[in-house]
Assembly symmetry: C2
Homo-oligomer: 502 residues x 2
């Protein structure tokens, strides 16, 4: 007879396994699903979500947790004991939430996620926000209902934020974003006013096959294990799955190879985090990521701090030129570097440079905050979007396709997710400052295409920690400081001022 | 409150829906799965199989069936009533079997299917039967155990056959195959001795893109709905899914475009059957195929009777020449027709022509029969295979890759499946004889690429019937006769004697 802890872990792994099945269904939905097979997929998603919820809210888990909590697992003496303590603590947190969700609510929400996704695809194509509005209304109602069920009925948006980044509240984020905005806007406006402009139109006719080869080589050099993962094509790049099977996607445009490459590097950053979680603990909280902010810190660190650096391209620029003969004949190394670090306001978040990106997130955070506070209605969303876009980005979308309909997230009811992107930027920069101190000579590694020291450090300090720490505790543990936007501001100034304001 | 019948249907659809999730996991396993993600996939398959079994063996289904059986549904008066009668009758058949399978048996078998599949892939690659033998042993033990649980412990192979083609037994098949063999061998030997040989080496350097275009056009012309299905690539072509989402696969060889094309036509035949099942009844027995023999009759009828005909290629030969300019310059229409109807003994079943194919099936049936009867051990299988191969095909495999390890089926524990292929050939020919009488002028349709009358007839008489009839009853219903190999023999003589024995 396995002991209580082993029985708990088996139950947790069962629920997690059903989660991985949902993940595969979701991946397939975006990569492969025939258009008229949507209804069945919605039903599949709903049923698996219901079963996964039932498995995770299994009363036996509650009983086992109570039993283990009563034991002397709360000491912090030996490593195996600490692992158990973390698993029990975090499993309790999950369980106490899950048992408050009725099965039919879980199934209904899963079904609505799938239906609303396809409604959004159609609405965006047609630029018809009104066609999507009822689906968004229902998602908002579901999100409020969920918060109510959880006992957060008076703070539904805080609940949404906490789901993505444990411990985060609207007030905390308002303070962090406000500090970031104060430091960022002068830099943004100065760069926008600079006579230096990144060269445009460098890339024409870069065949997909070459792009695929290059991004595969880069992902491999970064340390991604293709024996436990793959990269496919979808309209919106994403990363799905756990350490046992990672499905990343990118997209190809023959006139914009950097989009495919940087998207793939970004998703590989996510994939490396998942592959670095301890496989032995897969399915338990120790084998799970902390939250979306930390996840995003991993993708951003690779995409921005690493892959937009000069050192990175010492290794890969020759390969780029080799794979696309003649394409970059008249383009200097310096022009290429500037093109990879182009700063330009754009209407579309996913096309934004790493400076403006933060402003796109602030816009969405502000709108979500107002929606949940009842200061804004769904019907009023497009106008509010456009006004904020003008204020923060200096641009007003000509239509909703380029405005309020551009992002997939709300179609999945994923409120409280957007802030994670900006938190991820902050966390990445704060980690990077530590990396700069503890791993001297890293640039020389990068120039040789060797990322093993960096990956090793990330594995040890972040990936292998699983959910041992919450978002802010991890930042404290790794950096010795509270989360602050100041490292992001310094990093952005150090990288972009010499290029644009010298 | 829905009535009992509606509640039954909802329960059946829930179990079916979990079956479609298993189907997608299985499809993805063969099309996409990274090599080291196998263990997790095995666990996913086991868990979903367990849950599907629990849903299908739900005691509520038993109670609802008992209630409905006690009602006056057994009359055969109006169509809606008959539909209910069929659903209740067939659901009872399924249910009575499912409740005899313990959940842990279901999970263990599903897990073993996935592990044995990958063991077989490795063993086949290495030509190492001994590496696969223990997995096959375990599958045999599981199959015997299942038959035992079902109360068929004294006739485990009959149980395996009945699972694939309801009502079929080893004795029935032995009689049918014996009659077929008697008629077939003289034809086979005469063709093998004929001085006429199909031309070889006609196809070199046919780019994959052109093959993909052609087979997509053909599948579309046949009536396949790509809005509810897709075609991908896998090492072994197959068709997975139900009417709501069909996943077919093919494979490409630039020097053998006919393989991709005929494989795709074959799988499209399966796909059309699934898409033709009444969608309103999806998830109930009325929305399910009769069995594998009838399924195979649909793929074979399209692959052989239709797509190897002269009329079919009146429409598609010009397109073939157009898509591959210069490739068939010196090749006459007659040579092409002969190449498409090549008859040549081969070691590999999936490469066999439609005459020899039946001999490959007889070989496997005989070995399965002996294995289950205890006349043959797993260790003795390779030698027995080789001996029978020599006897039936006149060829002895030089190694097990080309012999006993060539097929995927046993790795999935799918004993009793192979005979369906040959039964499918017989059924297709018997249906085709009726088609020839009731749909005059069909060849003129085919010459224009119009398959709508044929598909309409198949839909009405076969697809839309779901599981109203069992295999032999359906043959009686459609053809007015018992299943017999005589139509297959006449069809083969009529097609091949003029080509090879004129």
């Amino acid at each position: 007879m396995p002991d209580s802890y082993e029985r708990l872990v088996a139950k947790l792994k069962r629920a997690h396994l059903l989660g991985t099945v949902s993940g595969l269904l979701a991946w397939d939905e975006q990569v492969n699903l025939p258009p008229d097979s949507i209804d069945q997929r919605s039903e599949q998603m709903a049923l698996v979500a219901e079963l996964q919820h039932a498995a995770a809210a299994d009363p036996d888990i509650g009983a086992l947790l109570a039993e283990l909590e009563a034991q002397s697992l709360l000491s912090d003496i030996v490593s195996e004991e600490e692992a158990r303590r973390v698993v029990v603590r975090e499993a309790r947190r999950d369980y106490d939430r899950l048992v408050r969700l009725p099965a039919d609510f879980v199934a209904e929400r899963a079904r609505h996620v799938s239906l609303a996704y396809h409604a959004w695809v159609g609405a965006r194509k047609a630029g018809d926000f009104a066609a999507f509005a009822p689906f968004l209304e229902k998602h908002l109602a579901l999100a409020r209902q969920e918060a109510e069920l959880m006992g957060w009925g008076d703070r539904p948006y805080d609940y949404a934020l906490d789901k993505h980044d444990p411990g985060m509240t609207a007030v905390t984020i308002t303070v962090l974003f406000s500090e970031l905005k104060t430091g960022l806007l002068p830099l943004v406006r100065a760069i926008e006013a600079s006579p230096v402009k990144a060269p445009a139109g460098l890339f024409n006719d870069f065949p997909v096959e070459g792009q695929r080869t290059l991004l595969t080589e880069i992902a491999t050099a970064m340390g991604f294990n293709f024996r436990r993962g793959r990269i496919d094509v979808s309209p919106h790049p994403f990363c799905e799955g756990c350490g046992a099977d990672i499905r990343m996607t990118t997209r190809f445009d023959t006139d914009n190879p950097l989009d495919a490459i940087f998207s793939a590097i970004h998703e590989t950053g996510h994939g490396l985090y998942e592959q670095g979680l301890p496989l032995a603990h897969l399915g338990t909280p120790l084998g799970q990521p902390v939250g979306m902010g930390v996840h995003e810190s991993q993708s951003r660190l690779w995409e921005n701090q690493v892959a937009r650096s000069r050192a990175f391209w010492v290794r890969f620029e020759p390969r780029l030129r080799e794979l696309f003969p003649g394409r970059l004949a008249g383009v200097s190394k310096e022009q290429l570097h500037l093109a990879m670090n182009a700063v330009e306001p754009t209407l579309i978040r996913t096309e934004a440079d790493e400076i403006h990106y933060n402003l796109h997130v602030m816009l969405r955070f502000e709108l979500e905050r107002r929606l949940f506070a009842g200061e804004l209605t769904v019907a009023g969303l497009p106008a509010a979007w456009n006004a904020l876009s003008q204020e923060l980005l200096g641009l007003t979308p000509p239509d909703d396709r380029l405005g309020v309909l551009q992002d997939v997230h709300w179609s999945g009811g994923a409120f409280g997710y957007f802030p994670s992107y900006c938190l991820g930027n902050m966390i990445a920069a704060q980690f990077w400052a530590v990396v700069g101190k503890v791993l001297p000579g890293l640039e020389a590694d990068f120039e040789k295409g060797d990322f093993s020291r960096l990956l090793g450090w990330l594995r040890k300090n972040i990936h292998e920690q699983g959910r041992r720490y919450d978002t802010r505790a991890l930042v404290r543990h790794v950096t010795g400081e509270e989360l602050t936007p100041q490292y992001l501001l310094s990093y952005l100034r150090d990288r972009y001022a010499p290029l644009y304001l010298a």
